[in-house]
Symmetry: C5
Subunit: 323 residues, 5 copies
């Protein structure tokens, strides 16, 4: 799907500008054109980017091939910004990151993504309804709005992970199973993936807030600094979540060790109690003195020793602090 929003220098907003008109509207330096390529095949996008927007071939390559880490590149005719949105399944603890490629020019913003990105859809609706406002402030401000929304979507994901970790920790202390461990491992992997994205993304925003870029008004840097601050907080949160995951894994091992110890103690108590008296019953059962028992004295001896010996052993082990 290719969709466009166009705000001309006189202040009117048009949607669905046909491809053939793009070259024309781009000549209006005071307008802002936003083109969103959603789930479109690369070979359809590539000629448009090259011929109409005059983007550098390497820049286009970077954008159309997957597997980037977030980065920012300053090309002659545009600034390329690659960021990632994030999706999370709280139940399976599965986390996916979705690449968004952005080209910022003097009077255009191009977004390209292979999967639906909720943040973009929200901004699109918002820009469409809330007439003139968003696009009127320039392409660079639209970029800020977009990045702000994309980054804002990370926080609920980390919160969900935080809660999942809390539950996992409770589970670890209460009734740890291999499934618990499996989930802890899943949380670990989710965090690894988030971190892989957030760190370079923070660097991208840092550069937007600090460096000179041709199409970004220096007065707008303060907004990017705001997004940057948000990412710093996220990094921080990620690090402490990672620390928690590590701690939960250690705890798991310790809780299991503890339980094994408890079970072992129980087994030992049972053995200490019954092994001696089992022997005694066997011993007195040898009938070495004839049948039935030669004397009551012997019977009493047997029964008394069956009570005294295990109790005594148990007391002795307790006293020696072996149990």
């Amino acid at each position: 799907m290719i969709r466009t929003l166009y705000h001309n220098s006189k202040g009117s907003l048009t949607t669905d500008v046909p491809t053939t008109h793009w070259r024309t509207v781009l000549r209006d330096e005071g307008g802002v054109l936003w083109v969103d390529f959603a789930e479109e095949p690369p070979d359809k996008i590539e000629p448009l980017l090259r011929d109409i927007f005059n983007l550098h071939p390497l820049a286009i390559d970077d954008a159309l091939v997957e597997l980037h880490i977030p980065k920012i590149d300053n090309w002659d005719t545009s600034v390329y910004i690659g960021v990632h949105a994030v999706e999370f399944e709280p139940d399976s603890l599965e986390l996916r990151t979705r690449e968004v490629d952005i080209f910022l020019g003097r009077n255009f913003l191009i977004t390209h993504h292979r999967h639906p990105i909720p943040a973009i859809d929200r901004l699109w609706k918002n820009s469409q309804s809330n007439q003139h406002q968003r696009l009127a402030r320039g392409a660079d401000h639209l970029l800020y709005d977009l990045l702000d929304l994309v980054v804002a979507d990370y926080m609920p994901v980390l919160d969900a992970l935080d809660e999942a970790l809390d539950r996992l920790e409770d589970e670890t202390f209460a009734r740890p199973t291999t499934l618990t461990l499996n989930k802890i491992f899943g949380a670990k992997r989710a965090l690894l993936r988030v971190r892989r994205i957030i760190t370079p993304q923070r660097e991208v925003l840092n550069r937007l807030a600090r460096d000179d870029y041709p199409f970004i008004d220096p007065k707008d840097r303060v907004y990017f600094r705001d997004v940057y601050d948000h990412l710093v907080r996220l990094t921080d949160l990620t690090e402490s979540l990672r620390d928690l995951v590590g701690g939960t894994m250690d705890t798991y091992l310790s809780v299991i060790a503890n339980r094994t110890n408890d079970v072992m103690k129980l087994l030992t108590v049972v053995s200490v109690l019954f092994m001696p008296i089992s022997f005694l019953s066997g011993f007195f059962g040898m009938n070495f003195l004839g049948l039935p028992f030669g004397s009551n004295a012997l019977l009493i001896t047997a029964i008394v020793s069956m009570v005294v010996i295990p109790v005594g052993m148990f007391a002795w082990f307790r006293y020696r602090r072996w149990l």
Copy 2:
């Protein structure tokens, strides 16, 4: 609750300046106005900050929305400083951090917080009673007093954590239970939370002690350096406490492993002693030679072997250092 302290340029101190007078007193460049917004709803504070103090909208947003890490921002009409006070429950090892938002202007200091902050209350009382002193030295010096008190409250918390760790370590060596582990984990989390606050807070103080800020007298930087040094010490202490927590967790595992080993040895000793003689009593109980025992020799053989064999096995295992 909104409360104000006003020290005019002639040296007299007033409390509870009504909102409507703020604009007037702010015109007195030699005075100092301290406004404290405690547990007030944002929509009541926001217009005051915007209209009377002329603060930047983004700055106000930053202050009124929760979840900051400590930071300092230089705005045109004020310096924003976000710090955190700390609260600690020694019994549950629960640690909470409370955000304090501060705006420093030429002749005003605004504090905003969502929970009661003891450090602010102490400073307030002190400023009120101890007439003229605190506010007379300027808004920047009042800021120093405030930060000094906020940071001073961290040390007793870390000391309490240190003591809690000492107790946990003793507990780990003496009678480790899952509860002990739970508490170690709690201490770990408390330290994670402190560290998340102290590190950026130290950076804030570092910048106050080093950089130029419009409303801070360069001669006062030395005071902020003092608070900074205090925070450096706290960071250091936090790091070594973290190391201790890690060590305690490792120790826990080792102590449990040790105890399991002891219990196992005991079980093995009991089994080594009784399994052979249980067998013997069964064997001689098979009555293969008639009832009662065919000869005393056999009886003696049985009893002697019941003594010699387990003792011999036990000695052999000892000798081979298996026990």
Copy 3:
């Protein structure tokens, strides 16, 4: 094997230029000569490099002796670039790195390697068939093509490792054996080896993309930056794979601990059930009341207690949460 590709300044491509002509063709400043020394003995290469290409003796030494980490050295008459190609056996998780030594001069590129390098063979074929194109853009662009291909071969290796780790993780959760551990350890070692190469290789590309080198057109730096970005991504991937290996090793230990705990519980249950009734059968088998049983009451007592006691113990241990 020594093979050559020569593209003269008039645009024609020749293969297999004899050694004796090298000096002549090098005089054509607009041509490009690519010499590839594949699996040739050093003493055959050394005089050629020294006498014809005027390379520095230390530079030649560096190239002909094995065991380098990737590096770049700027010599007077050439730039030396040492990189590593990578080979991987997915089954044995064995990973080998193959050194490629490259000398870039104004109008020549020399490659030297002790093992077949697929990336070089692909580039060779491509340069030969796809006439004039590759070499026509200069020796520095040929260098870019080569480095790009060498680095591109890392990604499938890391992907294979990633998949192997996924399988190992599943295996760890499902049926961990010492063999699993052995493979985890193998993956760890493979990653160590990759990291040892990638990190300095990234530095080499960083310098090619950033610094001035006599024989590299500054306009081509953007291409090396592209390869550099690729290596940054690879480093990143390696780090998170390393983290995964570490996590898998921890998981292995935890899974084993869990299983031991399960087996222990089972043993304890069996012991708790049978030790008391074994004793009872021994006890009542002592025949202290004559044969056959003195009364049915006694028989019933025996059988009832053999049912009640183990069940009771088991219930009690359950209730006390020991099992």
Copy 4:
């Protein structure tokens, strides 16, 4: 105790200059006055430092309040240097650090400490007897002598810790108990404490060796560099000791795991040997064929199977490498 050493510009040495004369002797710019405040109450020291030596109030506060990390501050009238001496109990592995506060002025050196510091006492005796030498070279050289001695006392402490670790490691391999673990933990804590002091102390010496300080002759910096080098070596040693402590803790866990494994094997061997034959003696003891044994064949069967079955099982388990 307040004690003084005074070396005037004519070369004569006086001890115990009364407080009232300090102001006078300080006027002699070529003299050197060393004042040592040992275990004196702050309120007695404070007026002397403020009124006679003109030290900055904050500097005095820093010096008289405990709990510093080593630091250096350049004040107008003096350089403040806070360092720590170290004390160690090899038996209990208890390590204490003792703060020493030093003020260096043009012609005076002030030392202040709350506990006896052997290094200071040695230097004092040495300065007193070995007339004129030490103080004649100026206050900055006296500072060097002092720091050199304080730092020299660290090495025997680290050596003692190293030896203690060696013993602990031997103990861990030979007969690990919870006490061993307790001592390892103690060594860990001692090292944490040393590191907390050495790192900033090294930074202090680094700055003395590198930066300009008003009362330090640049030609003397080479001496401070010597102390700095000493501290670098100590840091290095501390780090490798920490690594050893960590390794010893891991080893402890592994040795215990090993022992548990050995005990388990023994228990299993005993069970494998006796459980089957215990059963057999029970089985043949059921007397199902009348009493005494119906035939010798049955008796022989019983006895042979009691030998063959356990041996066979044991061999089988061995063969399957389960034991």
Copy 5:
């Protein structure tokens, strides 16, 4: 032993120049004098260094006192270079480092060491026989030759450690004992010691290759860079060996845990099989129905249940995946 090699400016080589002639030959600025102090007492060396070579007292102190980390110091009349040679016992995994102190002057090189250093002996022999060559290139080139040889001796040591680790890893997987652990720990310690030397040694070479030193020809820096590159490779190798040691230690623990699990399973299988039937034989042995067995039916019941019950239990546990 004091030995000397002297190459005068006319090109002739002399050995064993008597101490009394040193001052004379040093006047020949074009000559090169190499003095090697091997295992000589400090008080014999010290006056020679001070009076004849005019070395700085602190420099001499540094050289004659043991326990340095490698360093380089630029003194007025010489450059002091302290490096370490390495010795390794592959069997005991014992690694020793031997300090070599070097003074480089305009026309002299002094080496001092407390133990025989093979690298120095090789260079000495080589310089003696291979007439004029080595010393003719100047004292700085002789320094390069020496450092090159010293550093070259590290590689076989690390290779031996690598092989030892390979064997240890195999041993860990095959038949881990406490002795294995002991050796792993030994390897760890050896690597710690190497690292402690290599890192600062690399820094020394880095400074030789980069900085200006009065007696080193800038054109020779390229040689020191070569040694530096060698040390970078060694650091790299050390780090990955350390990583392997850590992995081997983790593996050890995991293998032991695995084995304990296997032994536990075996014990549990045996118990599950024999505990029920032991009980049954006891139960049916109670003779409650008279002797011999009242009916064949009972006998058959007994025997059948002795087969069915253990097999059933075993199958059930298998089915529930408890075994």
